[in-house]
Each structure stands twice: as C-alpha cells, then as structure tokens.
C-alpha cells in the first residue's frame, strides 16, 4: 500500500516526537489521535518527491528540482484526549495543510492518521463521512457560514447533512447557540452579525453534533484583538464544561500559549518541536523556535502549574491522627515545610516542623491543629504574573492545585525568579 509506506525519519525530525516531560495534567490521558510519518506532496505522482525527501532533501530543494510543492513532511505527533493541541507556525509552514490532512479535506500522500487506533487514511469515502459526522467538526478562519441560512440553520448544518430531522436538529442547534451566548440571535442571517458573532455561530455549528474532536483553523485570527481574547476565554470556558479534544491552528504565539495544553511548532512543512508551553520555552529545539519566544512576556505566558515543583520528600500523605511519621519525614529530608495531601492526592494544608512538633506536644496530635493558617493554594491556570506578590509574601513556597484540588507542587521565590530570568 503506497498510502502507508513507511519512511525512515530524516535526522532533522528525529528529535521532534520526543514525549513532553511535564504534561502534568495530561500525562495519564489516553492518546486520541496519532499522526505517524505524515507527508503531503502536491503532485499527481508524489513518489519522486517522497524519494528525494527520504534521501534528506529539503522542501526548497524538492521545489527547485521537481517543481513540486511539499505541504507537510514526516509529521508525527500524538494528541491526547481532552487537550487543546495547538499547531503553530508562520504562514507557509504547512499548518493549514496539516489540519486539512486530519479530516482528509486534503488527501495525505503517505503516512498514517490513527483516530482511537483506526487508520483514517485507509477509510473509504463513505466510512470517512461517518467519522466526520460523528466524531469531528471544524471551525474556519473566514467563518464559512452559509449566507442564505439563519444562525440557527447554520448551527444545525452538520446535523442536517447527517439526516437528523428538523425539530431535533433545531433543538440541538439552539442548545449549541445558547452555549456560545447567541440564543437571542438565532434568527439572524450571517450578514446581520459582527465577525465575532459569526464565529460564535461557526463554533456553535461545530458543537452542535457533539463531536469528540474539533479542528480549529486559525479560528480567531480574523477577529480584532479584544474579541479574539474574548473568544479564547469562551473556548476555555467551553473546554472546562465539556472536555473535547481540540486541534487548534494559530500563527499567534500569545494565543498558542494562552489556550494550548501542548504546542507543536511547524516550519517548512516539518514539525520542529512538540511540548507544553513551558517545555518549549525552557528548551527551544532550535533558533527558529527560540526566535518565536524572543518577545514573549514569560510571566504572562506561564501558568502556576508550569512553574510548580513537585517533590516527594516534602509531600506528606495524611493519615488522620498520625503525626509522628510526618515529623520524621521532614526532619530526615531536611525540609522545614511539608505539603499534606489525602490519599486521593487532594491538597489538605501546609505544616512546618515546628507546627507538627507543637501539635504532638499539645496532646492533640491532629493535622488540623498542625496546619499553618493563612496560606491558601493557588490554582494551576493562573498566569505567573498574578502570583508574584503572593509568592514573595508567603513564608513558604506557595502550593498549587488543579481545578479539582489535586496538589501539583509548590512555587518558591527562587524557582519563580529563575523562571522569569530564563525567559528574558
């Protein structure tokens, strides 16, 4: 089968597929979408170009020699369930081609796309249509709303195509419109709406058939900055309510950092680096990636979860009424403060050697009496620049928890300063 022809990794790409090191929140999440050695050659016969690329030629050389355009070359990455995976690159880097390969708006020349283990590149048209109707939807840069339909009917478009009857699809579309705050505008036509509202309809259309995977192609790039931020918040809010797997194309680093759980950076059809914003910021793969981050305000990009350091030695598992081992652990590890969590990893409070010793002496050896008052944990999605004062003022490293109260680690002033220094 030519479609799945395996090609050896050219050396330049070998480092790209390295698994991220600090994807704390998603480390255990299952992989939904696997892309393996994906190529797109814009030519009726991709073989000569594939052979050239395989021999180590670059995109420019292939264009020069064969007059054939290479869209994507040897792309491999995993997208995990429930994450926002941002593919970022400058125009011409192949990111728009990449997203269109995933739902086969553009047919891949070679390689595999596995959705839940099922190879999309092998599906017949009919099978693909089933997958598109059930599992995937797409949001477009230019909104791509049908001008002759109202917002409601536009939102219902995917369901109409799938053959859902009129009342059912309108109900579902109405729910989707309400989700994006457009319930009152259901009967307006696209031309009667602003760009931001139109893209909300585009979003509602993508939500209406309740897909598990959403492809967003520069979805907010055509909007002005204020509305863009508003839409990003909207997307993050929707994502909090209902976890979907989102693949988001962007050329805007701030946007990528803001909404991306992980980011893939593309250049010249290749994927240069994949990782969490923090990973990429900390260890850019090459100068191209580094140049992206040159003008970034690190404190606004990084969130508390990125900076928090988890150490097993100062993390104490709460065993009600048993304080002795806690004191022993702190003394032996040399830590003065201990972070207490329950056996489901939920954050309970902070103790110090003194407070534990005091509680033991008081004749009431309970964690409740040992907890230090006045130190609240911060949530992992807060940008670092909002934490500076709290970290500076706290007597101990500030604990960080996720939305479910799970303890992720703590931020000390020295770690914070180091992080800010590295970004500069």
């Amino acid at each position: 089968m030519t479609m799945t022809m395996r090609l050896d990794d050219p050396p330049a790409v070998a480092k790209t597929a390295a698994p991220p090191t600090t994807g704390k929140t998603h480390a255990e999440a299952e992989v939904r979408l696997q892309v393996r050695n994906l190529y797109k050659i814009f030519s009726a016969d991709p073989k000569p170009a594939l052979a050239m690329l395989n021999a180590g030629a670059s995109k420019a050389e292939v264009l020069d020699k064969l007059n054939v355009n290479v869209g994507v070359m040897n792309a491999s990455f995993d997208v995990r369930a429930g994450e926002i995976f941002v593919i970022m690159g400058l125009s011409g880097s192949g990111k728009s081609t990449m997203i269109r390969l995933l739902n086969r708006l553009i047919e891949p020349s070679s390689g595999e796309i596995l959705l839940d283990g099922r190879n999309l590149t092998q599906l017949s048209r009919r099978e693909l249509v089933e997958v598109l109707r059930r599992d995937m939807s797409m949001v477009f840069q230019s909104f791509a709303l049908l001008p002759h339909l109202t917002a409601l009917d536009n939102a219902a478009f995917g369901l109409e195509i799938a053959g859902v009857d009129k009342t059912a699809r309108r109900d579902a579309a109405m729910v989707a419109l309400q989700q994006v705050g457009l319930g009152a505008y259901a009967h307006r036509y696209p031309r009667e709406m602003s760009g931001g509202m139109q893209q909300r309809v585009g979003l509602a259309r993508a939500l209406a058939n309740n897909p598990t995977i959403m492809l967003m192609d520069e979805a907010f790039s055509a909007l002005d900055p204020l509305i863009r931020t508003e839409m990003q918040d909207e997307l993050l809010r929707l994502q909090r309510e209902q976890k979907r797997t989102i693949i988001f194309i962007s050329h805007d680093l701030d946007e990528a950092m803001r909404i991306g759980d992980r980011i893939a950076i593309m250049e010249g059809g290749r994927i240069v680096q994949v990782g969490t914003p923090y990973d990429i910021l900390r260890a850019p793969a090459d100068d191209y990636v580094r140049s992206f981050f040159r003008n970034v305000d690190v404190s606004r990009v990084l969130r508390a979860g990125d900076v928090a350091r988890f150490e097993a030695s100062n993390t104490i598992v709460r065993v009600p009424g048993v304080l002795g081992p806690a004191l022993q652990q702190l003394t032996e590890s040399g830590h003065f403060y201990g972070y207490v969590r329950d056996n489901e990893n939920r954050f309970q409070g902070i103790v110090s050697r003194d407070s534990v010793a005091h509680a033991l002496r008081s004749g009431e050896p309970r964690f409740l009496t040992a907890f230090l008052p006045g130190i609240e944990p911060v949530t992992s999605d807060l940008p670092v620049h909002t934490l500076l004062r709290r970290v500076a003022a706290a007597p101990c490293p500030v604990p960080v928890v996720d939305a479910n109260g799970i303890y992720l680690g703590a931020i000390s002033p020295s770690v914070l300063l180091e992080t800010l220094d590295r970004g500069a």
Binding site: R100, V129, L132, F140, A144, L146, T150, A184, L215
Partner: protein, 292 residues
C-alpha cells in the same frame, strides 16, 4: 468549385447523414418540444387577456415595486389596445418554453462543467462558437431537421439562448468561496449534498443572472425565428417589413421592447435572492430586542 475548400459540402453531407439515419430521434425531439411549446402556448392563449396581464402585473408589483407594477399594467394595456395581445402572448409562450428548455439543458451542463476540467475546456470552446455564430445560421439546420413552424423556432432559440445559462451556472459554482465548500465537506457532505446545500444556493444570484440573460436572448431570437414560421410578434414584424408598413412595424417593435423590459426587470429581481428575506427582516429583528 475550383480551388475552394469544401467545408460547406461537408456540412451539407453531415446534415444529410443525420437526416438519413437519425430521423426517429429527430421526430422524438420534435414531439417533445412541440408538446412542451404547444402546452405553454395553449395555456397562455387560453387565459383571458386580463388574467394573464393581471398575473404579470402582480409579479411586477410584488417583485419590483409599485411603480413598475403600474408601468407593466400600462404597457400590457397599450399592447392590448394596439390589437397585438394575441401575438404577444404567443411570443411570451415561445420565450418561456425556450427559456425553460435552455435551463433544463444548460444548468446541469454548467454544473458538470464547473466540476470537470475537460468538460469545462471543451464546453467553453463550444459556447464561444455558439455565441459568435450569427443567429440566422441556426435557422438553416433547424429547418432542415424539423421543417417549418414552432418546433425549429424553439430549437434554434434554445441553442442561441443557452450559453449564458451554462456559463453563469458554471461561474456561480466555481465562485463559491473555498472555505464554504471545505465546511460542507468537513461536516460530512456527500457530493449531492454539497451541490444542493452549499454550492447551488450560493451560486443562485449568478444562476439567476444567467436566467435573465437567457430569457432576453430568447426573446430576441424568437423574433428572428418568425422567418421560419415560429409565429408570435415576429410574424407581425415580418409583415411590416414585407408590406413596408411603417405603422405596423413600429407597433410590433414597440410591443417587443415593452415585453422585453417587463420580463427583464421581473427576472432580474429574482437574481437578488435576499430581497424577500430583507423585506421581512423587521419581524426577526424584533425578537432579539424583545429578548434583551
């Protein structure tokens, strides 16, 4: 014949060949066209003048506006007063039937050409040929194949008037924004759903412009086709020429012009699909305001 290249001879031979071998198909085509044209003709002439005139004026009033409705009523009244109602109604019937036949063939052809490169290249060449060929030339094979009368008139008119329908359908579909087509495909459209739910609705203004053009060309051709006995106002014009009757020529010419204006404005109004939606937009606009 000395030194001449005998293309004319070959054309003649081709016509003879078709006549000899395809007579049954020609008869079938003739029967269909005759039934179609005759049906519409009979329907229009069967109606009392005031009913047909009323319907046309009502259309003008609804689609274009009060002023044009009055103009239409006046024009039709004038035609009736000049005693030319019957040939005008007959011409209208011929125009309608040849326009409908042109669309029946032309729109699917345009759709096909929009999606197929080879069909587009061949089709475009053919359309150029059809449009540059002098209109009268179509009358000759039409007469050869179908004799005199309404049928060859309609067929020659269909050939002459079809190109804009094909061209503008093709153009309309090709000009649907790429992301709209992508959206259709991304949400799992089958090809026919893409055509009927995305491409055709978006190509509608262009297709309606094609309808308008086709109808205008059909009107001009059907007058010429009276030379082979198509009937209608063209016959009256022809009489005027033959008798050098300036009055009759002017009256019939004026009727053609008035009919052309009325048809043009009414079909043009269908080109802006948004018109009716906008007219009732105040109803929908009330809702969000009330909900706020």
């Amino acid at each position: 014949m000395d030194g001449k290249i005998g293309i004319g001879v070959w054309a003649e031979r081709l016509v003879t060949f078709i006549l000899d071998h395809f007579q049954p198909s020609l008869d079938a085509i003739a029967a269909v066209v005759d039934g179609f044209g005759g049906g519409i003709d009979a329907a229009l002439l069967g109606m009392p003048a005031w009913v047909l005139g009323g319907v046309i004026a009502a259309l003008a009033f609804w689609r274009v506006g009060v002023g044009f409705g009055v103009f239409t009523l006046g024009s039709l009244g004038l035609i009736y007063g000049m005693g030319l109602w019957e040939p005008t109604a007959s011409t209208l019937g011929l125009v309608l039937s040849s326009t409908l036949l042109s669309l029946l063939v032309g729109v699917p052809l345009g759709i096909w050409m929009a999606g197929n490169r080879i069909a587009e290249q061949v089709g475009k060449t053919l359309l150029d040929f059809m449009q540059t060929m002098p209109a009268f030339v179509y009358l000759i094979p039409a007469v050869m194949f179908f004799g005199l009368g309404r049928v060859p008139g309609i067929i020659a008119t269909v050939i002459f008037a079809m190109p804009p329908a094909v061209r503008l359908t093709m153009l309309g579909i090709q000009q649907v924004p790429g992301e709209l087509v992508e959206a259709g495909r991304a949400f799992g459209c089958h090809p026919h759903q893409l055509l009927f739910k995305v491409q055709l609705p978006n190509a509608m203004p262009s297709i309606m412009a094609g309808v308008n053009q086709t109808m205008m060309m059909a009107l001009s051709m059907i007058v010429v086709a009276s030379m082979i006995g198509a009937g209608g106002l063209g016959n009256v014009v022809l009489q005027g020429i033959q008798r050098l009757d300036i009055g009759l020529g002017f009256e019939s010419g004026l009727s053609v012009v008035l009919l052309a204006i009325v048809l043009d404005r009414i079909t043009q109004s269908f080109g802006s699909v948004k018109a009716p939606a906008r007219r009732f937009a105040f109803l929908t606009r009330l809702r969000p305001a009330a909900a706020r």
